[in-house]
């Protein structure tokens, strides 16, 4: 009886402690996964910014660079392909061209930096889905020209040109935003999400 009582006691104790233990285990795994996503998001923005300033870049965020048609084609794909590095982690990618040369895509707002030659602040807006990489790519004119910043806007090409890359020390800013909802939040019914943001800046020299 003593042994059975002890067994029961142990089960009760385990039952009491188990949620906390599994919560800790889950949190550990979630935290690791979050770090993984954030690290990969940083890598993606770095890669995209680097590609955006290359000499063979075509000027389009969604089309392949010009070197893909060579006899020995280059390995570069469309600029937005870089954000798809997170696809294996279950992330999806959203990119839209802007509707005005001076405005960000509809899923974000842009607050200019006090120094117009420095990147501004982007905030996601509208119906934002979790586990989705929202892509922002724009160009800062090194001479503070107008419009500044310049966003890709094919629909306003007649006025401002579709291509957003102009050479001569212009800065290209790639800003990736991702709302991540930990698994535990889903299990526990907690609605809040964490927004990951990775910004990379490169200079056009060609």
């Amino acid at each position: 009886m003593v042994n059975h009582r002890k067994l029961g006691q142990a089960l009760v104790e385990f039952a009491l402690i188990a949620p906390a233990i599994f919560l800790l285990i889950g949190a550990t795994v979630d935290l690791g996964r979050g770090l993984l996503i954030y690290t990969m998001l940083q890598g993606a923005s770095r890669d995209m910014a680097r590609q955006a300033v290359l000499g063979y870049y075509s000027g389009s965020n969604t089309l392949s660079p010009t070197c893909t048609a060579l006899t020995t084609p280059c390995t570069l794909g469309p600029l937005t392909n870089g954000a798809h590095q997170l696809d294996p982690l279950g992330m999806s990618v959203v990119y839209q061209d802007s509707t005005a040369i001076s405005s960000p895509p509809t899923y974000g707002t842009y607050a200019a930096n006090a120094n117009p030659l420095q990147p501004g602040t982007i905030t996601l807006t509208g119906a934002i889905n979790a586990s989705t990489v929202y892509v922002f790519i724009y160009e800062l004119d090194s001479t503070g020209g107008n419009p500044n910043p310049r966003w890709s806007c094919p629909s306003c090409a007649a006025a401002s040109g579709a291509a957003v890359r102009t050479s001569g020390h212009q800065l290209v800013v790639v800003d990736l935003k991702l709302q991540w909802k930990p698994v535990l939040n889903s299990l526990l019914g907690i609605p809040s999400t964490i927004t990951f943001d990775s910004q990379s800046v490169e200079t056009l020299e060609y």
Binding site: N3, K6, L7, A10, F14, I21, L24, I25, T28, V29, L31, G32, R33, L35, L36, T39, M40, Q42, G43, R46, D47, R50, V53, L54, G55, Y56, S58, G59, S60, L63, S64, P65, T66, C67, T68, A69, L70, T71, T72, C74, T75, L76, S142, T143, A157, A158, S160, G161, A162, A163, R165, T166, S167, G168, H169, E205, Y206
Partner: protein, 774 residues
């Protein structure tokens, strides 16, 4: 039961540990991969751009080894080398270099990449161990990153202009053209962008593309056509060996085979936006990557000299007003620098780097100047010796005059001396002029033998710079007056063929009581010896035609006079800019200023020239806007380069070392075979403010580069950055081996003109020396 309890905890801990370790391993692995990817990319980028800087002209086994070794050595500064560099291949197929480094890092380098002589590819791979990977069947994962770097002289267009207009002939460019506004054609003019292909290595250094930012470029005008790959035969068209692309928002392309001649070789390495359908390339106006102001460069400022030859010590002031600069006593401009007192052996005046208002070569009095004038000798019998204070300089002209008692016997001189003119008047005396052309140097005296041995005479010796080395005597004359008179005229028998000649006389007259002697106005006296009835004078600024002088004596006299005219070394005047930095602000010349040839010849080597305010560079006059066309027979920047034809006659005699052929920027590489541009003596390697930069002007400059007129010639080696207006008239020999960046550029070419702009000589002054292209 205690054992069962221990088991429960063990299971819990095991599960927990598994989760913890698994998560940690995953994070570590992914983090490590990301870190390695980032590190490798930075290494690859650095190695590619670093090695691209070593890319030179052409491709050979040696140059490929240099480029590949540079990339390998760059990596060796970042990682420990564990292998050894192995290089194999050929220029046509590409060389491949491989090496290994600590941390399972392997390296592969390809040069030339895809047959593009100025591109190098660096591939880095690291085998990254996976924690506990053996339990999952994979002990490591490979991370590979690559980069392709390109040397900038291959990525910078030979011509950049906001507005480019072609007004006549076929204007050939060795390299690419980038224009902001649509290229305009008139007078049947054609612009042709040629690729730069080195047959010896089957590689390209430039693909000859034309990119126009504006929409709607017309590639072939009415009745126009392009003759593929040749320097002639095209008219009223924009032609290219590479692609032709117009429009930043509405793309139009040249027609393949009609105006865009994309050969199979070019197509293989030339990304053609039209063929790929990937949208328009951004075509820049004058890029901000072009060179900085030289007047802010300490290396340039350090070369500035004041009037005493010392250092100015500070940057030039754009608002400064400068004192006059003279050359040979004649005002030729304004500036802080020293005034050259005399010309060199070739007749060129040397100017020093300094702050200037303007230099007007048309102001030169003549190319001939006196190096030294000896004193008249004492009266001597049978042998008369004239001396100078110093030994002569090789290549100069020596002139001696002799005045002696009358004798029918011509005097004799030592070897090398030539008689120019003589006159003998019984009752008065004998006068002679002798000269020694292109003397070997070291001569300080001349002895004449007079016969019979009882003859007494005087002599005088002088040395002259800037006289033609071969056959300098143009005209001579002699006159004798047998009836005493107070006035006589001595004149050359024929007309002087050039201006600026040295015309020298010897005058023999009687020493009578109360005698006086007066030479004509404008002549400079050398000898005035009334006691011995001996005079001599010279003039350097007579016009073409008969040269004559009126001589006057106070007492009627018999006369025995002679005259000789000697030609200057070149067909006109000339100047040399010695190595260093020159700054022109236009002061002292109303409305314009800068440098104007105005019929002159300007040579330079290892120089960088800056022009501010209204100052310009003109082959004509210094008037605002570039002045009129050059109309003189000689009107040129630089002289025929040895690599193009025979070296100029002034090469050997030039006192600064000789061989000013290319009007060259610092550090420039002269074309093969032309050793006249050995490299900078003042611009530090890698200093972008002076490296390869020949001309620079700020955007505020209102002056022009104006090389206009069919006789204007230029051999410019370097990079020209001029945001304002440029005019380039190219004849059959002129060329600009470098890059030309202008706001408004008007070009034309005469029949037979070759490549007018562009070269394979590594001319680039851009701030960024190499770029990544992949």
């Amino acid at each position: 039961m205690r054992k069962r309890e221990r088991g429960q905890v063990l299971v819990i801990v095991a599960v927990w540990m598994l989760a913890l370790i698994g998560s940690a391993a995953l994070i570590l692995l992914t983090g490590s991969v990301e870190w390695q990817r980032n590190q490798l990319q930075q290494l690859a980028d650095g190695a590619a751009t670093d090695s691209a800087l070593t890319i030179g002209v052409g491709c050979s086994a040696g140059s490929a080894s240099t480029v590949i070794t540079q990339a390998d050595n760059f990596l060796a500064t970042q990682r420990t080398r564990t292998g050894s560099l192995s290089i194999g291949g050929s220029c046509a197929a590409g060389y491949t270099g491989t090496d290994a480094f600590a941390g399972a890092l392997s390296e592969t380098i390809h040069y030339p990449y895809r047959g593009h002589q100025q591109q190098v590819e660096v591939i880095l791979t690291v085998a990254l161990p996976i924690s506990f990977g053996n339990y999952m069947g994979a002990s490591n994962t490979n991370v590979t990153r690559r980069a392709v770097g390109q040397q900038l002289s291959g990525s910078a267009a030979a011509i950049r202009a906001t507005s480019l207009s072609c007004t006549g002939g076929q204007f050939n460019v060795g390299g690419s053209i980038a224009a902001s506004n649509a290229i305009t054609l008139s007078g049947g003019c054609a612009v042709y962008a040629h690729d730069r292909f080195e047959a010896a290595s089957s590689t390209y250094s430039d693909l000859g593309n034309v990119a126009v930012f504006a929409n709607g470029q017309t590639w072939v005008g009415g009745g126009g056509s392009c003759a593929a790959g040749t320097n002639s035969g095209s008219s009223n068209a924009v032609c290219a060996d590479g692609y032709e692309l117009s429009g930043h928002n509405a793309t139009t392309c040249g027609t393949s085979g009609t105006s865009a001649f994309l050969t199979a070789g070019v197509t293989a390495i030339n990304a053609n936006p039209c063929a790929a359908g990937t949208g328009p390339l951004p075509v820049p106006p004058v890029s901000t990557s072009l060179p900085p102001e030289p007047n802010t460069d300490p290396a340039g400022i350090a070369t500035l000299r004041n009037s005493a030859g010392g250092a100015v010590g500070s940057a030039c002031n754009p608002a400064a007003v400068y004192p006059n600069i003279t050359a040979g006593g004649v005002v030729v401009g304004t500036g802080l620098g020293p005034s050259p007192a005399s010309a060199d052996a070739s007749g060129f005046y040397h100017f020093k780097p300094s702050c200037y208002g303007y230099l007007n070569l048309g102001s030169f009095a003549g190319g001939i100047s006196a190096r030294q004038i000896g004193a008249e000798s004492a009266r001597q019998r049978h042998f008369v010796t004239a001396t100078m204070a110093g030994a002569s300089q090789a290549g100069t002209l020596l002139v001696a005059t002799v005045s002696a008692e009358t004798t029918p016997n011509k005097f004799a001189a030592t070897a090398g001396w030539v008689s120019a003119a003589e006159a003998n008047q019984p009752g008065e005396g004998r006068s002679e002029i002798w000269y020694y052309p292109n003397n070997p140097g070291g001569i300080s005296s001349i002895t004449f033998t007079m016969n019979p041995a009882t003859i007494n005479g005087n002599a005088q010796l002088s040395e002259w710079l800037g006289v033609a080395a071969a056959s300098p005597l143009d005209q001579s004359g002699a006159s004798t007056v047998a009836v005493p008179t107070t006035t006589t005229v001595i004149a050359t028998a024929g007309a002087l063929t050039q201006t600026g000649e040295l015309v020298i006389t010897v005058d023999g007259f009687q020493n009578l009581p109360g005698q006086t002697f007066t030479r004509a106005a404008g002549w400079t006296g050398v000898v005035t010896d009334v006691a011995n009835g001996y005079g001599s004078e010279y003039s350097l600024n007579l016009p073409t035609g008969i040269a004559s002088e009126t001589l006057t004596s106070g007492v009627p006299s018999l006369w025995a006079n002679a005259i000789a005219g000697f030609k200057p070394a070149g067909a006109g005047t000339g100047a040399v800019l010695d190595p260093g930095f020159y700054y022109f602000n236009g002061s002292g010349f109303a409305g314009g200023g800068g440098i104007c040839l105005n019929g002159g010849e300007l040579l330079a080597r290892d120089v960088t020239l800056e022009f501010v305010n209204q100052a310009g560079l003109s082959a004509g006059t210094c008037a605002a806007g570039g002045g009129a066309n050059c109309s003189a027979a000689t009107c040129q920047y630089g002289s025929t380069p040895c690599s193009i034809s025979a070296c100029p006659p002034n090469a050997a005699a030039d006192s600064a070392g000789g061989g000013y052929t290319w009007f060259a920027a610092p550090c420039s590489q002269a074309p093969a075979g032309d050793a006249s541009c050995p490299g900078s003596t003042w611009c530090p390697s890698g200093d972008r403010a002076c490296w390869n930069l020949l001309l620079w002007a700020p955007a505020s400059n209102t002056g022009q580069i104006a090389i206009k007129g069919t006789t204007a010639r230029h051999w410019l080696l370097g990079s020209l950055y001029w945001p304002g207006t440029c005019t380039d008239t190219v004849n059959g020999t002129s060329t600009l081996d470098g890059t030309l960046s202008c706001g408004t550029l008007s070009v034309s070419a005469a029949a037979g003109a070759g490549i007018a702009v562009g070269s394979d000589y590594g001319i680039s002054t851009a701030l960024i020396q190499a770029v990544l292209v992949e």
